[in-house]
Subunit: 336 residues, 2 copies
DNA sequence: AAACGCTGTCAAACGTTTTCGAAAAGGATT
DNA sequence: AATCCTTTTCGAAAACGTTTGACAGCGTTT
């Protein structure tokens, strides 16, 4: 019955034209102060709010920034908090969208989501860990931690190479020599950088690289269990595993528990990211902290700059990582 | 230059009408199979994606569920994870919106956001901790932890009263008798329930209620610092404080630190919620765990049921809480 | 009397979906 | 083989709720 009032309802109730209402609501020039006041009174009585969709369709400006994610998992949730806090003082609203995971074939979710929202609805976008990263001509876009190498997009990411170096060195400093690596898909930039850091740290320490000790997961807990099991079933199994992200490390922890391997006594485990969950597992995970909220906040600030007319010049911001030592790493058990 | 292709571009390129393209893309009845195939080929070549905004404006169905939050803080971020996981297997996309915090006057953000998005853009909404909670006639709405009492909306919430009882009893069991309460605005339902639980536990234990020991915060860290300071500056200050949520408890921890009061030796602190941050503060916070992700998932399931035609009957789901003991509570120091 | 500034209305446009009708294509009946 | 009916295929146009540029009316100022 009492459906949402439209601008037509307001116009009819106030006895003016639709365009008059539009001008009054948006404070446009070309309407008398008292008429405007009368209209706004009616607006208030009826509880009218302009439809974001309809207005955006016509005006192509909405005052909304979109964050496009594949999924609301811990990493993107942290990003979101950062973006939110950066936008809190701005005039922008925040809209986070997780698009159709199903049926997107080869194109990837990001192209589809971006295409469906851009030009309308959102004035600018932040894409979280996109795989295909092609610039949009419609609206400014900033990428956070893009998975492919050369991005023609302004990018904010953390120092994967340096972080992986820190992680591996930490294990080496503890005395480990057989260190396994549970990576992500090697076609993803952050994954390959982390592997590069792992290998460089080994080389620096004069430890020969053993391909047996490298397995690939998919940055997910479930998909890392199998490779983790492979690593831990090796005849001469590693005394430490560096997983390319925390979710994978949690997979390692699970498998180790099932195999009766005590962490950290018999096995040290390192993660990467420091998602909130890292501290909730048992034992709490030693990891490399990515400043996820700052990643989000920085991206938001960059995007706002872009929106206010600054040119991007293929900006690329890199934020430092930090070792967070908790309870999953320890010196290796002395050889029995 | 290469602006996003519209349905008109596709139609022109394929040499058919706009409506033919629409039918082909949406798999509607009334188009020949080979024509459709030809059109879809062009669609792929041009990389066309229908505009969510334009299509929703006409059809009023979008396959998108909206989560409306005041802000992306830890609590709503956890909810979001839960909603996301519940929706992962469904055919719905997820859109989270944090509306204009500024200039919303008395009406509250939720009415404005809901009004701007409903009827278009989203098929159903989940409102996180809304204050004014009036049913929308446009689309189904489920509320999570609404702040006002009588909700004419289907609601999912956790057991604030029971949780507060648990919390206060825990402190009493440790031996505390002067227990402070740092509440939220008493007009908010969850806040008053938590205060009720606090008082009932005191009564049950035969401890007289002292109004001096009750202060109101605003469920935020910053806004709880002043009341926390008041509590801790009392001549006969409490040996324990139960804060109505974790963010407030973190405020208490900060103030205690500044005043040189050692937690938990000189002061025990309890929170409520168990947000990820609760474990990251030092010392880690003892708190009452709300199953936030389950709250979100349950709300999503209820909403999907509503969307597929089930009637609500003012459904009200309550989820249990659980005491999570960490390091901010201990028996009171023996009287010096 | 001409020119101007201010108000307010008209109508087009934004990119879709959907209803409806027309045209075309078959099939069946003479 | 011609006619009629049914079915299929396709396009024209309206509608969704807004914004905006052009324009008309009108009282003022020169």
């Amino acid at each position: 019955m009492a459906r949402r009032p439209t601008i037509h309802d307001v116009a009819a109730a106030a006895g003016v034209s639709v365009s008059a209402v539009s001008k009054a609501v948006n404070g446009r020039y070309g309407i008398a102060a008292d008429t405007s006041a009368r209209i706004l009174q009616v607006v208030k009585e009826l509880g009218y709010e302009s439809s974001l969709v309809a207005s955006s369709m016509r005006s192509h400006r909405t005052g909304v920034i979109g964050v496009l994610v594949a999924d609301f998992e811990p990493f993107s949730a942290e990003i979101l908090k950062g973006v939110g806090s950066a936008l809190r003082e701005s005039r922008y609203d925040l809209l986070a969208y997780s698009g159709s995971r199903h049926a997107d074939g080869a194109t990837g979710w990001e192209r589809r989501s971006l295409s469906r929202l851009s030009g309308t609805l959102i004035d600018g976008a932040i894409m979280v860990t996109p795989t295909v990263v092609t610039a949009s001509v419609e609206i400014p876009v900033v990428a956070i931690d893009p998975h492919t190498g050369r991005a023609d997009l302004p990018t904010v990411e953390s120092d994967s190479l340096g972080g992986a170096l820190q992680a591996t060195r930490h294990l080496i400093d503890l005395g480990h020599r057989r260190i396994g690596f549970l990576g992500g898909r090697p076609d993803l930039r952050s994954a390959s950088l982390r592997e590069a850091g792992y290998r460089r740290a080994l080389t620096d320490a004069g430890i020969p690289f053993d391909p047996q000790l490298v397995q690939v997961g998919m940055f997910l807990t479930a998909s890392s269990r199998e490779p983790a099991r492979a690593l831990l079933s090796l005849p001469n199994r590693p005394t430490a595993i560096f997983a390319a992200n925390d979710l994978s490390a949690i997979g390692v922890l699970q498998v180790a528990g099932e195999l009766g391997i005590d962490v950290p006594r018999d096995l040290s485990v390192m993660g990467f990211d420091d998602i909130p969950e890292a501290i909730q597992v048992s034992p709490p995970l030693t990891t490399i902290r990515q400043p996820m909220q700052r990643l989000g906040a920085t991206a938001a600030e960059s995007l706002i700059a872009l929106l206010s007319g600054e040119t991007s010049d293929a900006m690329r911001i890199q934020l430092p990582t930090r070792l967070v030592r908790r309870a999953t790493t320890a010196p290796p058990a002395p050889p029995a």
